[in-house]
C-alpha cells in the first residue's frame, strides 16, 4: 500500500517538481513509519497523550507543502481504522464471546450470566471507548498539525473526526456479533429492575431523603396506604408521593442546574398540558428528574454505571443500538408490571397506577440515560431521538432541553404502550369482566380510556364475539344466564362506548342466538316482573330487580323513537344541537341512525330481540294469567304496578287484556266479600247465634285481603257456641263425618271470577269434584247470580288452589294443592282402596292423567301404589299410620311443616295454554287443508303446500312462515298421518 501511494504521488509530483521527488518519497516513508509506530503506541497505552515528535512533524510538513495533505490524512484514517479493527474490535468481541458460552452453560441460572454482563460490559465498553478516544486524539493532533494556522482549522478537524467516527461505527456495527443486542438488553433489564426495586424499597420506608415537604408526604402516603393491599399496587400508588417529593427537590434552587430551570419547567408544563389532559401535576417535573434524586434512590454507583455505559455506547456509535436495548428492557418491564397488577382483577382502576409507575420508574431511568447521552450538538439531536412519536419540536439549547424533550416523547411512547398492552389484555378478558359487571366497573373505565387512545374497537368486537360464541352461546348455557350476561354486556358497553356502535356489533350474535331459544321471552318476562328476591328465582333476584328498576326508569322511550324531536327545538337549541353533532364512528352500521342507537334502553333491547313487542306482550299475558290464577289471595298490588309500567312502555292498547285480568281479580275480591257478607247476614236473620266477632271477621277477611283460615279457626274457637260458621275445626269435622253427608261452610270457598274472553285460553280439562264441594260451588254460583243477575258463573273446576289438612290416626299434615289433587284425595275419605280405573272414573279424568297426578300423594307418603295380581291395574291405598308408611312405602315421610309449599308445582302443567300450545292449535286448522291437498295431488313439495295454503285459506288468513309450516308438517309426519320422501310430502297409505 505504501508503495502504491508512493507511485501515485510520484506521478503527480513528476509534472510539477521533479527535483523534490526524492525528498517527498523520503518524507512519506518517514511519515508512514512514524504514524504506525504512534498508533501502536497509542493502542498499548490508551490513556497517554500521543507523542509528537519532530521527525513526524517534519515529514508531515514536507508532504503538506507538496499539496499532499489530503493524502496524508486519508492514509492516517485508513491506518487508524486498521489498527482499531485489528486490536480493539477483535478484543471487544472476543471478550463478549463468553456470553454465548455462559448462556448455554447456565441456562437455568441467569444470575451468573447477569453478573457477568454487569461486570464485563461496562469494562469492555470503557476499554474500547478509551481506545477510540486515544485515536481521536491522535487524529486531532495530526489535523491540527496540517491545518495549523489556517482559517478553517476547526471545521476541518470536525470533518475528519466525524469521518473517523462514521468509519469506526460502521466497523463496529458490521462486525458486531448477533448476541450483542441481547447483551445490551440484558444489561439494561437488570439495571432497570434494580432501579425499580430501589424505588419500591424507598417508597416502602417513609421518605427521608427529601430535603423538604416531609409532612405532606406522610399525610398523602398514609391515605394511600389505606387502600393499597398489594405490594405492587402500593408501590405504584405511593410513587405518587415520591414524585411529589421529587418535585420539591427539583424546585429547590440549590440544585446544580442552570438558572433557567424554572422557565424550562413552565415550558414542560405547557407541553404536557397540551398532550396530557388527565395527567396530574405530579409529573410536571418528571421530565427534569435530576441525577441527584435518582442517585438518592438507586445509589451513586448505579447511576455512574449506567451513565458511563450509555456514554461509551454512544461514543462508539451504538446510540441506536443502545436505545433499542433500553427501550425493549423498559417495554418488557412495563408489560410485566401491567400483567402483574391487572391479572384477573377488575375491582380497581389500574391505569392511574400504571401512569404514575411510568413516571416513577421508567421515565426517571430514561432521564438518566438521556442525560448521559448528551451533550449532543444540534446536529446529533436527531440521532439521539431517531423515532420521534410526537410532533413537538423544541429548539434544543442544552442538555436539559434535550432530556426534557426526550422524556416527553418517551412518556407519550410509554403511555401508548401501556394503553395498548392493558387494552389488549382487557379486551381478551372482557367476557370475564362483564361477568363481574357491577364490580368490574373500574376495569371497564380503564378499557374505555385505553380504547380512546388506541382505537382498537374492531379488535374488541372480534375478540368479544369469539368469546361469546365459545363461552356463552352454547347449548349448555341457561337462557337466563345468557340474558343476564346480555344485560351486563349492554350496561358495560354503554359505559365504555356511549355511541353504542360496539354494542350493536357485539349484541347481534347474542340476539340471533336468543331468537333461536324457545324460552327466551318467558325468561325476559320473568326477569322483568319477578318479585324481588322471591321464591325459586332467588339467585336471579338481584338482576331481576335491576330489570324491574330499569322498567320503572326508562319510560316511554319506545313510543318516542319515531317522533322527530328536533322539530321541537327552537332556534338556539337547534343551533347548539347542530354544533354538538358528531359523525357516527366509522364502524357504525350506516343503515341505523345514531339516534335509534342511543335511545334504546335495556328493556327495548331485550324486547327488540324479537323485533316486535306483540310476542312479548302475549307471553306476559300468559304468565300473568298463570300467576293470578295461582293466587289464593287477591293481592295484586305489585302486578298492578308492573302493568302500569309496562303500559307506559308498550302502550295502553297492547296491555288492555292484562288490565282486565287484574280488574277481574279486584272484582272477584269484592264479589267474594259481598257473598260472604250476605251469608253472614242470612245467618243472623235466621236467628242463629253468630258471635259479633265472627260476623265482623267475614267482611274483614274480604277487605283486608286473604285471612288465613287458621286465624279464623282461632277466632271461632274462642266462641264455642259458633257452630255453622266455623271453618272446620276438629269438632266440626267429627260431627260432619258422623253425619256422613257432611256440609262444608261457604266460608272455605273463594273464587276468582274471570272475564274469559280477555284471558288466554285455558287447558281444557274435565274434573269431577266431590259432591260436597260441588254443592258449595253451586251455592256460590247461585249467590253470584243473585248479586250480579243476569250473569252466571261457569266453574273452571280444574283451576285454582286448595289448602287442606289431612288428618290421620297418628298425624296430620297441611297441603296446598291443585283442585284435582284435592278431589283425588277426598275420594279416599270414605274408601281407603281405589283402583286407578275406578278412581279415574270417579274424578272424571283419563287414567293416564290420574296416574300422573296421583304421584304427588304417593310421593308424600299419603298413598301407596301397588299392582293387583289379576288384571294388572294399579291400586292405591291410603297410608293411615306412619308405621304403615314405614313398612310399605319405605319411609316416605309426610311433610308436616308449617311452611306449606305449593306442592306439585313442578309436575303440574301450567293451567294456561302456553304460547306454543296456542300456536299448535292454530296450526291444527290447516291439517284438513293439507290432507285434502295431498289426497288430490298425491304428493307435493313443501313450497307448493305453502303457496296453496296462502292462496286458499282466507279465514283466518294463512300467515305462517315456511319454517312454521315445515315444523307442522314434520309433526304430522311424526303422527304418522303423512310421510316425507324425496323432498315431497304424501299421505301415508294405511
Amino acid at each position: 500500500m505504501g508503495e502504491n501511494l508512493a507511485m501515485a504521488m510520484a506521478d503527480s509530483a513528476a509534472s510539477s517538481a521533479f527535483a523534490n521527488l526524492s525528498a517527498v518519497t523520503q518524507a512519506w516513508q518517514l511519515y508512514v513509519l512514524r504514524a504506525s509506530a504512534m498508533l501502536r503506541l497509542g493502542s498499548s497505552q490508551p490513556s497517554s497523550p500521543p507523542v509528537v515528535d519532530t521527525e513526524f512533524d517534519a515529514s508531515v510538513r514536507v508532504l503538506c507543502e507538496q499539496g499532499l495533505a489530503s493524502l496524508v490524512v486519508s492514509y492516517f484514517l485508513d491506518a487508524l481504522e486498521k489498527a482499531f479493527k485489528q486490536h480493539e474490535v477483535a478484543n471487544l468481541w472476543q471478550q463478549l464471546d463468553e456470553y454465548s458460552r455462559l448462556k448455554e452453560d447456565d441456562a437455568d441460572d441467569p444470575g451468573k450470566l447477569n453478573e457477568w454482563v454487569q461486570y464485563t460490559l461496562p469494562k469492555v465498553l470503557s476499554e474500547i471507548s478509551s481506545a477510540k478516544l486515544a485515536q481521536e486524539e491522535s487524529l486531532r493532533m495530526l489535523t491540527r498539525l496540517i491545518y495549523h494556522g489556517t482559517a478553517g482549522q476547526a471545521v476541518e478537524v470536525e470533518r475528519f473526526l466525524s469521518q473517523y467516527h462514521t468509519a469506526v461505527s460502521a466497523l463496529l456495527l458490521t462486525s458486531a456479533p448477533q448476541h450483542f443486542p441481547e447483551i445490551l438488553n440484558l444489561f439494561f433489564k437488570v439495571r432497570l429492575e434494580q432501579f425499580s426495586k430501589a424505588v419500591r424499597q424507598r417508597n416502602r420506608k417513609p421518605p427521608s431523603g427529601g430535603p423538604s415537604g416531609d409532612s405532606e408526604d406522610d399525610a398523602s402516603e398514609g391515605s394511600e396506604n389505606n387502600n393499597g393491599e398489594d405490594d405492587e399496587m402500593e408501590s405504584m400508588r405511593s410513587s405518587h408521593c415520591t414524585s411529589a417529593d421529587d418535585m420539591e427537590i427539583n424546585e429547590n434552587p440549590s440544585e446544580n442546574r442552570e438558572t433557567k430551570q424554572v422557565d424550562d419547567t413552565d415550558e414542560a408544563r405547557d407541553m404536557e398540558g397540551v398532550d396530557f389532559v388527565a395527567v396530574s401535576h405530579l409529573k410536571l417535573n418528571a421530565g427534569a428528574a435530576t441525577m441527584q434524586e435518582v442517585a438518592a434512590v438507586a445509589g451513586e454507583e448505579w447511576v455512574g454505571g449506567v451513565s458511563s455505559v450509555i456514554c461509551n455506547l454512544r461514543h462508539i456509535g451504538f446510540a441506536a443500538l443502545s436505545e433499542e436495548g433500553y427501550a425493549s428492557a423498559i417495554y418488557s418491564l412495563l408489560k410485566a408490571k401491567i400483567h402483574a397488577i391487572t391479572n384477573k382483577r377488575y375491582e380497581k382502576p389500574v391505569l392511574a397506577s400504571v401512569r404514575s409507575w411510568i413516571e416513577a420508574v421508567p421515565l426517571r431511568f430514561l432521564s438518566i440515560i438521556l442525560a448521559s447521552s448528551g451533550p449532543p450538538s444540534s446536529k446529533s439531536s436527531s440521532l439521539t431521538f431517531p423515532s420521534p412519536l410526537a410532533s413537538i419540536s423544541i429548539p434544543s439549547t442544552g442538555v436539559d432541553e434535550i432530556v426534557k424533550e426526550g422524556v416527553v416523547r418517551w412518556r407519550l411512547r410509554l403511555h401508548f404502550f401501556a394503553y395498548e398492552t392493558l387494552g389488549d389484555m382487557r379486551i381478551n378478558e372482557l367476557f370475564d369482566i362483564i361477568v363481574d359487571y357491577p364490580e368490574s366497573l373500574p376495569a371497564i373505565e380503564d378499557l374505555r380510556q385505553c380504547l380512546t387512545n388506541t382505537r382498537h374497537h374492531a379488535k374488541l368486537v372480534d375478540s368479544f364475539r369469539t368469546a361469546l360464541r365459545q363461552r356463552l352461546l352454547t347449548a349448555g348455557a341457561a337462557t337466563t344466564d345468557i340474558l343476564l350476561q346480555y344485560v351486563s354486556t349492554i350496561k358495560a358497553l354503554r359505559t365504555m362506548d356511549p355511541t353504542g356502535v360496539v354494542l350493536e356489533a357485539v349484541g347481534e350474535p347474542i340476539k340471533e342466538y336468543l331468537r333461536g331459544r324457545k324460552d327466551t321471552i318467558r325468561c325476559i318476562v320473568t326477569m322483568l316482573t319477578d318479585d324481588t328476591g322471591g321464591g325459586g328465582m332467588a339467585g336471579l333476584g338481584g338482576v331481576g330487580e335491576s330489570l324491574f328498576e330499569e322498567l320503572s326508569r326508562g319510560v316511554s322511550s319506545l313510543e318516542n323513537v319515531d317522533s322527530d324531536d328536533d322539530a321541537e327545538l327552537d332556534g338556539d337549541e337547534a343551533w347548539a344541537a347542530a354544533e354538538r353533532w358528531e359523525p357516527d364512528p366509522i364502524e357504525a352500521d350506516p343503515s341505523r341512525t345514531s339516534k335509534s342507537r342511543r335511545l334504546m334502553d335495556i328493556i327495548s333491547m331485550l324486547v327488540g330481540i324479537y323485533g316486535s313487542k306483540e310476542l312479548f306482550v302475549n307471553e306476559y299475558r300468559v304468565m300473568l294469567a298463570e300467576k293470578l290464577l295461582n293466587k289464593s289471595d287477591y293481592d295484586t298490588d305489585r302486578d298492578i304496578r308492573t302493568l302500569e309500567l309496562l303500559k307506559l312502555r308498550f302502550g295502553e292498547n297492547n296491555m288492555h287484556g292484562c288490565e282486565i285480568m287484574l280488574k277481574d281479580l279486584a272484582d272477584s275480591k269484592r264479589i267474594n266479600t259481598n257473598i260472604k257478607a250476605a251469608v253472614a247476614a242470612e245467618l243472623s236473620q235466621h236467628g242463629l247465634a253468630v258471635p259479633a266477632t265472627s260476623s265482623d271477621s267475614v267482611p274483614l277477611a274480604g277487605d283486608a285481603g286473604y285471612r288465613t283460615p287458621t286465624a279464623t279457626v282461632g277466632l271461632v274457637d274462642s266462641h264455642s257456641q259458633a257452630t255453622f260458621m266455623q271453618t272446620p275445626g276438629s269438632q266440626t269435622g267429627d260431627i260432619a263425618s258422623a253425619d256422613g253427608d257432611r256440609k262444608l261452610p261457604l266460608d272455605v270457598l273463594e273464587a276468582t271470577i274471570i272475564s274469559s274472553l280477555f284471558w288466554p285460553p285455558f287447558q281444557a280439562e274435565t274434573l269431577k269434584v266431590p259432591a260436597v264441594v260441588e254443592g258449595l260451588l253451586e251455592e256460590y254460583a247461585q249467590r253470584f247470580h243473585t248479586i250480579k243477575a243476569p250473569r252466571k258463573l261457569q266453574w273452571r273446576k280444574n283451576l285454582g288452589t286448595v289448602k287442606l289438612e289431612l288428618q290421620f290416626e297418628d298425624r296430620s299434615a297441611q297441603f296446598v294443592v291443585s283442585p284435582m289433587h284435592a278431589a283425588i284425595i277426598m275420594h279416599f275419605e270414605n274408601q281407603t282402596r281405589w283402583t286407578a280405573t275406578e278412581l279415574a272414573e270417579a274424578v272424571g279424568v283419563p287414567v293416564i292423567t290420574l296416574r300422573r297426578r296421583i304421584m304427588l300423594w304417593v310421593n308424600q307418603g299419603v298413598l301407596v301404589e301397588s299392582h293387583t295380581v289379576k288384571d294388572g291395574d294399579t291400586v292405591y291405598n291410603i297410608v293411615e299410620t306412619m308405621g304403615d308408611a314405614g313398612a310399605r312405602a319405605g319411609g316416605g315421610a309426610p311433610s308436616t311443616d308449617a311452611a306449606l309449599p305449593l306442592l306439585g308445582d313442578e309436575e303440574r302443567e301450567s293451567a294456561v295454554a302456553s304460547m306454543e300450545d296456542q300456536w299448535q292449535q292454530e296450526m291444527n286448522v290447516y291439517e284438513s287443508y293439507v290432507i285434502g291437498m295431498l289426497t288430490n295431488f298425491d304428493s307435493l313439495p313443501l313450497d307448493r303446500i305453502h303457496n296453496m295454503l296462502k292462496m286458499f285459506v282466507s279465514d283466518p288468513p294463512y300467515d305462517k312462515t315456511l319454517q312454521q309450516l315445515q315444523g307442522f308438517l314434520g309433526r304430522l309426519v311424526g303422527e304418522e298421518k303423512l310421510e316425507f320422501r324425496e323432498g315431497v310430502y304424501r299421505r301415508r297409505q294405511m
Binding site: I660, L744, I754, F758, K788, P790, L793, G800, L804
Partner: protein
C-alpha cells in the same frame, strides 16, 4: 283418614247467558264489551228486549235513540221494548 278443607280457591268465568255469542249490533262478543267500552261486565251490561233479543246496553240505546219515535228490534223488527218493562 279425614280431609279437612281449609280453603278452596276456585276459578270461574262469568257469562251473560244470552244464548248467543255476539251482540247483533256491534258484532262483539256479549261477554266482552261494546266498542265504546274498555271493561266488560258491570261497565257494559246487556239489555234484553221483550222479544228476548239481547244487545249491549250501549249499542241498543244508541239504536233506540236513533230510531225514535218507534224503535224496532234490530233482529226481528218487532217494536222494541225493554224486557220487564
Amino acid at each position: 283418614m279425614k280431609v279437612k278443607i281449609l280453603q278452596w280457591h276456585a276459578v270461574a268465568s262469568w257469562t251473560w247467558d244470552a244464548h248467543d255469542d255476539a251482540c247483533g249490533i256491534c258484532r262483539m262478543a256479549f261477554d266482552g264489551c261494546c266498542p265504546d267500552c274498555k271493561m266488560p261486565g258491570d261497565d257494559c251490561p246487556l239489555m234484553w228486549g221483550a222479544c228476548n233479543h239481547a244487545f249491549h246496553l250501549h249499542c241498543i240505546l244508541k239504536w233506540v235513540n236513533s230510531q225514535s219515535p218507534r224503535p224496532q228490534c234490530p233482529m226481528c223488527r218487532r217494536d222494541w221494548k225493554f224486557r220487564g218493562d
